[in-house]
């Protein structure tokens, strides 16, 4: 066989490459395929409204839990609105709410819109730290003109309830670790 290299060592090496190439190709191919179909887009509430996210598509919505919007039904369902300055999205959730889920706090919910425009959340992301604001939420709030960094008052929704430590929420993006 003149195509194959003559030395035994080189043939073995070629063998390794011949085995490795399909495995690596499979890994890259699977990743590319999954990166097209298995990713979740993130929107702020007003952005999600404007873009008319189709019902049934899994997305993440991040904003602030609108004060006064949380209704806890006896059957375990929770309804609330995710808001930024330019709009709000009504959401419902049946699951264990994170311990830091509060009105006026930042929240990221993953789920899909139903036909009536209600956002049915499958997960509500918990933050282990009450001083922490998800980066995407900060960005989304900035986009909708709500974020005033450094003025010490945090986001300016009507009657925002600051975290109980009394520290401004903006600490999370600028301040010291805790």
């Amino acid at each position: 066989m003149p195509i194959l290299p003559k030395s035994r060592k080189a043939r073995r090496r070629l063998m390794v490459v011949a085995v490795a190439a399909p495995i690596l190709a499979a890994a890259v191919g699977l990743s590319l395929w999954a990166s097209q179909s298995a990713i979740t887009f993130f929107y702020g509430p007003s952005e999600a409204r404007a873009k008319h996210v189709p019902a049934g598509q899994t997305v993440r919505i991040g904003g602030l839990v609108q004060p006064g919007s949380v209704i806890k039904a006896a059957d375990g369902e929770v309804r609330f609105s995710i808001a930024d300055k330019a709009g709000a999205v009504p959401a419902s959730y049946r699951g264990e709410l994170p311990d830091l889920f509060r009105e006026g706090q930042g929240v990221v919910a993953q789920g899909e819109f139903d036909r009536s425009g209600m956002f049915v959340a499958k997960t509500v992301l918990a933050k282990h730290d009450e001083k922490y604001m998800p980066k995407e939420v900060v960005d989304a709030l900035k986009k909708s003109g709500e974020w005033q960094k450094g003025d010490g008052s945090g986001p300016s929704l009507p009657a925002p309830s600051l975290p109980a430590s009394g520290k401004p929420v903006a600490d999370a993006t600028t301040g010291a670790a805790s």
Partner: protein, 669 residues
């Protein structure tokens, strides 16, 4: 004073690490034992200084010294002593101090235990470890000091985050960091091997036990973190493919690949370049994890308090360490002379295949973790990558890997016999298929995918046992002969079997739990009950209990099955006044054999009839215990292998002697 002592010791440690690098390198170049010894002394000094600094931070926490900012932010006088101590590494700054303690500590171990190492290799390794110390000590001293004082000390602290006040979480960081930073030793040895231009048996005999030990610690650390997320967060899940979880999983995968390729390097002197490359990759991924977790570039459900500025500095540290190492690799690796030809079908071939799959799987996790960053940089669209991505990429690769696992140990070195291996494994294959069919037939609802998963788990467990049976010639030789062979088996063989069995048990648990778990939430008033998975849960009462630093609403729930009481559960909702009134849930778990009945007490909900009901959320998690048992067995397998006399480091002479003895006792090795 004690905080200043700590800060001062950190600066001394930095200076000593610089001296360690300079003196060891100079000693190596000039071939001067005096300079080399001085470098080693500096390394031990650096460790002692970091240890004193760590002790002084811990003492500030124990005494609740609120003039120290870090203590104010992470402690409280009412916190139990155990959590005051654990708070030392509960913060960003404190955890990096722990990182430094491990880094310099492992450096000291190389210096003390490496007496028999070749002199040049040792000096270069000590210098490299010192250089890593300089990077991370400088980070701590200049941008992340835990010893900053406050001008106006408050009378009370903000408390350690209540969610971290948990035994598993308190010991999770020391295990995790021993694992992460244990890989730094392997990195230093790899860099030293590249500088010295040779990889020999002495090198591999050091790298392998370090990898095994670090990997075992990392396994326990990840398991503890996952177990904590399972019962503390109250979501009933144990792995979310979250960036922070992936950050620990990538070095684990790369470490698993490394500890297999290091076997080939040690036993057969082959795959030299590849083992060195993996050594560099593993610690680079550890550092990448440290960066991802602290910089906040990725949104995680497990938010560490993040700081983009410091994240940038960490990225620079990571960049320096990684670029130097991989640059050196590109330049020097071609000069590494590898020996040991082997046929494609052989133990070496099987381990190469294992490495290919593990590296490809690591790559998919890396792509999934970093893809949101790349995508956002390119298109400015924030996205997240979750479980569906990994189900499409990581899982298929891993299934093939796991199918191949039992073949490896049954292959001979150099030239294996695939037909022979198949003959020895057919019983295991039959057991696996039967297990799958049994699950498909017996467990309702019928799920083919779960049956396949159980068959895979059964294949791994039966395959691991088949190896021991084969080696002992059970059933083929006389009972006495088999017993003698079993006794003579090296610990390494037992370790392999234990770890591979653990893998199988984990697969069983993960498949069963994921596909058969049931969930139910209902608001109940005392006296009412709900039904889940054959159990009836009756809410008896809801009362109040006082903890050391929290107040809790505690429910008493009686679980019955077929009319007989199986357990009384007391889930709690805790409110932490010291932590600004933060509320957490304490999940109650009734362990039913390998399965968990998992009960969470939700918030009170007034009903139309005026009574107050409580939301009770319960999960039936069948075989969930196997998910933790598996990794514990893997880590134990690692430790058992480590106790193998032939692997004990610092004893190259004894090791050589017993390796010869082992070779005589067991020709297959």
């Amino acid at each position: 004073m004690i905080a200043e002592l700590g800060a001062f010791c950190m600066m001394l440690a930095l200076a000593l690490s610089l001296a360690q690098v300079g003196l060891s390198a100079a000693g190596r170049i000039r071939q001067s034992p005096v300079l080399q010894g001085a470098g080693e002394g500096a390394g031990i000094g650096a460790f002692l200084m970091v240890a004193i600094a760590f002790a002084s931070l811990m003492s500030a926490f124990v005494r609740s010294d609120f003039s120290v900012q870090n203590v104010v932010e992470n402690s409280h006088t009412a916190q139990p002593l155990f959590y005051k101590i654990a708070a030392t590494w509960g913060s960003h700054e404190g955890s990096m101090l722990l990182w430094n303690l491990c880094l310099t500590g492992f450096g000291a171990v190389i210096i003390i235990a490496g007496r028999h190492l070749p002199r040049n290799l040792k000096s270069t390794t000590v210098a490299t470890q010192g250089a890593l110390g300089v990077l991370f000590l400088a980070y701590t001293v200049f941008v992340s000091s835990p010893f900053l004082r406050l001008a106006n000390p408050p009378v009370e602290g903000n408390s350690l985050n209540p969610i971290l006040q948990d035994p598993a979480m308190a010991i999770h960081p020391p295990f995790l960091y021993s694992g992460y930073v244990g890989m730094s030793v392997v990195y230093s040895f790899a860099v030293a091997a590249l500088i010295e231009g040779r990889v020999d048996a002495a090198w591999a005999r050091w790298v392998r036990p370090w990898t095994l030990a670090a990997w075992s610690f990392l396994t326990v650390g990840i398991m503890l973190g996952s177990f904590w997320a399972y019962y503390e967060l109250g979501w009933g899940g144990w792995w979310f493919w979250d960036p922070v979880e992936n950050a620990s999983f990538m070095p684990w995968l790369a470490g698993a690949a490394l500890l297999h390729s290091a076997i080939v390097t040690e036993k057969r002197g082959a795959l030299l370049g590849w083992t060195v490359f993996l050594s560099l990759c593993t610690f680079t991924l550890s550092m990448l994890g440290a960066f991802l977790v602290r910089s906040g570039v990725l949104t995680s459900v497990h938010a560490f308090a993040v700081d983009p500025t410091r994240g940038g500095v960490l990225l620079v540290c990571l960049g320096i360490a990684a670029c130097t190492a991989f640059g050196l690799f590109a330049w020097r690796a071609p000069q590494l002379k590898g020996g040991g030809l082997f046929a494609p079908i052989s133990r070496e071939g099987a381990l190469v295949l294992n490495n290919l799959f593990l590296s490809a799987a690591t790559a998919t996790v890396l792509i999934g973790t970093l893809y949101p960053l790349v995508r956002q940089a390119l298109t400015n669209e924030p996205i997240s990558v979750g479980p569906p991505f990994y189900a499409m990429t990581f899982v298929p690769l891993m299934i093939v890997t796991l199918l191949l696992v039992p073949f490896g140990p049954l292959m001979a070195w150099k030239r294996g016999d695939i037909v022979g291996a198949l003959q020895r494994l057919w019983v295991a294959a039959v057991i696996a298929v039967l297990a799958g069919i049994l699950v498909l037939a017996v467990v309702q609802p019928h799920k083919a995918l779960t049956a396949a998963g159980v068959a895979l788990g059964g294949w791994l467990v039966a395959g691991a046992i088949a190896e021991i049976i084969e080696r002992a010639k059970l059933g083929r030789a006389s009972a006495g002969e088999s017993a003698r062979r079993l006794k003579g088996l090296p610990r390494g063989a037992w370790g392999t079997t234990l770890a591979h069995m653990g893998l199988g048990i984990f697969v069983l648990g993960a498949c069963f739990e994921t596909t058969f778990k049931a969930e139910l939430a209902q608001a109940l008033t005392p006296g009412e009950s709900m039904k889940l998975g054959g159990y009836e849960l009756r809410l008896d009462k809801v009362g109040t209990v006082e903890g050391e630093n929290y107040t809790a609403e505690q429910a008493t729930i009686t679980a019955t099955k077929n009319g007989s009481v199986v357990c009384t559960a007391n889930p709690e909702r805790r409110v932490w006044p010291g932590a600004g009134g933060q509320a957490t849930s304490k999940v109650a778990i009734c362990v039913q054999g390998p399965s968990d009945l998992y009960i969470v007490l939700g918030d009170p909900r007034p009903r139309a009839d005026g009574q107050t009901s409580h939301l009770i959320r319960s999960y039936w998690n069948p075989w969930a215990r196997f998910i933790w048992l598996g990794p514990i067995m893997m880590a134990l397998g690692g430790l058992v292998s480590l106790s193998d006399r032939r692997l004990r480091f610092a004893l190259p002479k004894a090791a050589r002697a017993s390796a010869a003895a082992g070779l005589a006792a067991e020709p297959a090795e």
